[in-house]
Symmetry: C2
Subunit: 462 residues, 2 copies
């Protein structure tokens, strides 16, 4: 367990008060088979289960009866055959005692509960084994189980997990340190002759696993930065291009980091690259001066879009009234995603509970019918203890440029002839992890990964 | 695709002839969510799907109608939103054409088939998403779907995939080369001051990912070699102990390697360690002189057990008649697993189809009621083109020693007082990947990872 027992007891107490009635079931994760039943991916506990129990073993379910306050940890014990293969492990009773949970029971006991008589609260399952277990427990089909997830439980979990404690922030700082090691290594490798995206991607896996547990998401390592989730290819890096690396680590306790850097493979930016890169730097810095408690992150996003539009107009890539262009979503040709997302024990924190419930409330709900805005992940008013990413980018996506030009989308604001001069540019993104403080915000991590153009060039040519 | 189109066409033709009648459905894998729906583990295609199609994308199903020979690749196309996030990808029609499959259809079309009128052949699903899809397709529950797997299809796939072609062997050699890089790096790291199991484990992930795609199974890196699947801990390595590393890589085409080395953390074996280590070396070498076409691998296993028993008797750890001790399974206190397993596109090749069908036939079926023998994975008569592991080990498992001593298990063959002098020893295993050739067998990989005691000491002290 990462934190003292009292932390977990208090969290469960708060959860019970927020939900108020009924039986809460929080499912831990099971082993996830890769290519046959016994060959699993590295085990990754469910973040919410970890938040309320601190326990890392597979095959556990936490039950909290809101009426009586009774807490039960369901799980099966291991036998001598398991000990030969996996060594002695903590028993379910020992885990429960460690977490301050009074009762334990074998998993089969879950099937003896009469769910038709209970008000049941569960989170939307994102793994098919847990979905199937719920289908079998409740005697319902996939759609019925998905529809039956508890909004009250979702809202309660989001409320609790959204505000990071000092102890959680310390763990996030550890994750950011691993991110520093990963990105500085990638930047140095990017300029080495004969290097491939795949080699760098693999080394990032290694750094994350050696210093933490696993990458917080599959690393994006691509000369095609315009492909937002561009996974590494085996082709050698081409001098003259930019390499975009978006990668993060999880600590052994599964707190995350998430950074992006864009590095010139030749060691120096061209003038054209520099023109775009410096806009992204300034957008990135602008966000940090605007982000503070009480401000809607949606508004910070729009401020960044305005600055980006102004600067793209100066380069001859956009035209017309800045405010009208931003309202029309014209900038989304270059920035089709949001400024950032919440981060914590999930790199997109709690995304499995429904991004709309994590990132928004009634006053910040985005227009889901507008390209770009529909990809916003976080728009809420910032609060002390929020951790969010600041990750503006500018991309030249040939298929999207061609589509919009053909359809005339936002043609009053976009200079397609000039844009086509950049169609093989790729993309630039710069991303850091930011903690909202009483005074504003600050970066996570004790060392900054170089990001200003001069710093980047100095670092990789050192 | 790794091989020419004709290879895949021929494999499907052979499969159709072996199965003979009905509709064959081979499910590819889908993305496997880690901690929320959009955050997946690294994609790993199903090996059998890859064997018959060569295609690496998620969300595909291959159908072969044995009566008409019609082949259909089911899968959904991507749209412009996907292109923004993932770039342009090969269409389902293009993939089908590349693999020589005449027809394509969207996945929803699968649900229009009238399965009650069809003789359906499918493999046992090992991922819950595919299990659930089968439940929904067939209108059956979990147990019915599992029971409905096709023995005829299992046998046909085992028959085809068991014999490795020259092209497959070349790919396995590539995997073994990555294994060489991994193990030589781990051996060098093992003697560095302040090193941890977790750090080495992470670096192995990195080497596998940089040079191939992923580790072929979660690396075992442990000072407690006696825990057969001992995952790395964060504790520093202790001079004087042995470090057992069992690890392998998959190439980008998912052919595997699997090697084990046991390294003295102090750089030199103690006399006690050397006594045990040399027995394992000799058992490992003996297997290679006995393994040849026509020989049952079960018999090679027993030969190794006899040699091990003889040598443990000489050390005063066992006693009595060697043949009687082996028949009684007394040696299994030290070697509770089998000599090896088949290897190919799965590190335990085709284990998901049922180990008993892969590793055994009527004349080699092991006794499942005897400890040790019940953990055998491969006993068949060897054939040219088989690839198997040779991995004897000797372990001192305190919980098992105590249990057997208390129960008097095999007390006529075991010298418990002497055994208890070794109870904190740990374990030794040496493993290599072996190809059965017309003349006997040979190692895979162009370079041998040092394994004889003198070679190991010379290598790590270089």
């Amino acid at each position: 367990m990462l934190f003292p027992q009292s932390t977990y007891i208090q969290r469960r107490q708060q959860l019970r008060e927020l939900v108020g009635e009924g039986l809460i079931l929080i499912f831990g994760n099971n082993e996830a088979p890769m290519n046959y039943p016994a060959n699993a991916y590295k085990f990754r506990q469910d973040s919410t289960f970890l938040y309320f129990t601190g326990q890392h073993r597979d095959g556990l379910v936490l039950a909290i009866d809101c009426a009586t306050g009774q807490e039960t940890l369901y799980g099966d014990e291991i036998d001598i055959d398991d000990i030969v293969w996996y060594g002695s492990v903590t028993s379910v009773a020992e885990m429960a005692a460690e977490s301050g949970i009074a009762h334990t029971a074998p998993l089969s006991q879950l099937f003896t509960l009469n769910f038709s008589l209970l008000t049941l609260h569960y989170l939307p399952p994102y793994r098919h084994d847990n979905l199937l277990q719920l289908m079998e427990l409740l005697g319902k089909n996939r759609q019925e189980v998905m529809a039956g997830r508890s909004q009250r439980l979702i809202d309660a979990v989001v409320k609790l997990r959204s505000i990071k404690s000092a102890e959680e922030i310390a763990e996030l700082e550890r994750a950011s340190h691993i991110g520093y090691l990963m990105h500085t290594a990638a930047m140095r490798m990017a300029t080495q002759p004969g290097m491939t995206e795949a080699y760098i991607g693999g080394q990032l896996d290694g750094i994350a696993a050696s210093h933490g547990s696993i990458v917080s998401f599959q690393s994006i390592v691509s000369m095609h930065g315009e492909i937002l989730h561009g996974y590494p290819s085996a082709a050698p890096l081409e001098p003259g291009r930019l390499l975009l690396v978006d990668a993060g680590a999880e600590t052994r306790e599964h707190y995350c980091s998430d950074h992006t850097r864009t590095t010139p493979i030749s060691g120096r930016f061209t003038q054209q690259q520099r023109d775009i890169y410096d806009i992204v730097v300034d957008c990135h810095d602008l966000a940090l001066t605007h982000a503070k408690p009480g401000v809607k992150y949606f508004d910070v996003h729009l401020d960044v879009c305005r600055l980006m539009t102004e600067r793209l107009k100066a380069l001859g890539l956009m035209k017309g009234d800045t405010e009208e262009a931003v309202q029309a979503g014209a900038h989304a040709l270059f920035l089709p995603h949001g400024l950032g997302h919440m981060m914590g024990m999930d790199v997109h924190d709690m995304e499995g509970l429904g991004q709309i419930y994590v990132g928004f409330d009634a006053e910040t709900r985005p227009r889901l019918d507008q390209f770009g805005t529909n990809a916003l992940r976080f728009g809420r008013r910032l609060e002390v203890g929020h951790v969010v990413t600041d990750e503006p980018g500018i991309y030249f996506i040939p298929d999207l440029i061609d589509l919009w030009q053909k359809e005339g989308t936002n043609k009053d604001f976009l200079c397609f002839d000039r844009i086509n001069e950049f169609r093989h540019f790729g993309g630039v993104r710069i991303e850091d992890d930011v903690l909202i403080t009483p005074d504003g915000c600050r970066f996570l991590g004790s060392e900054r990964i170089p990001y200003k153009a001069e710093e980047v060039e100095a670092f990789i040519n050192k």
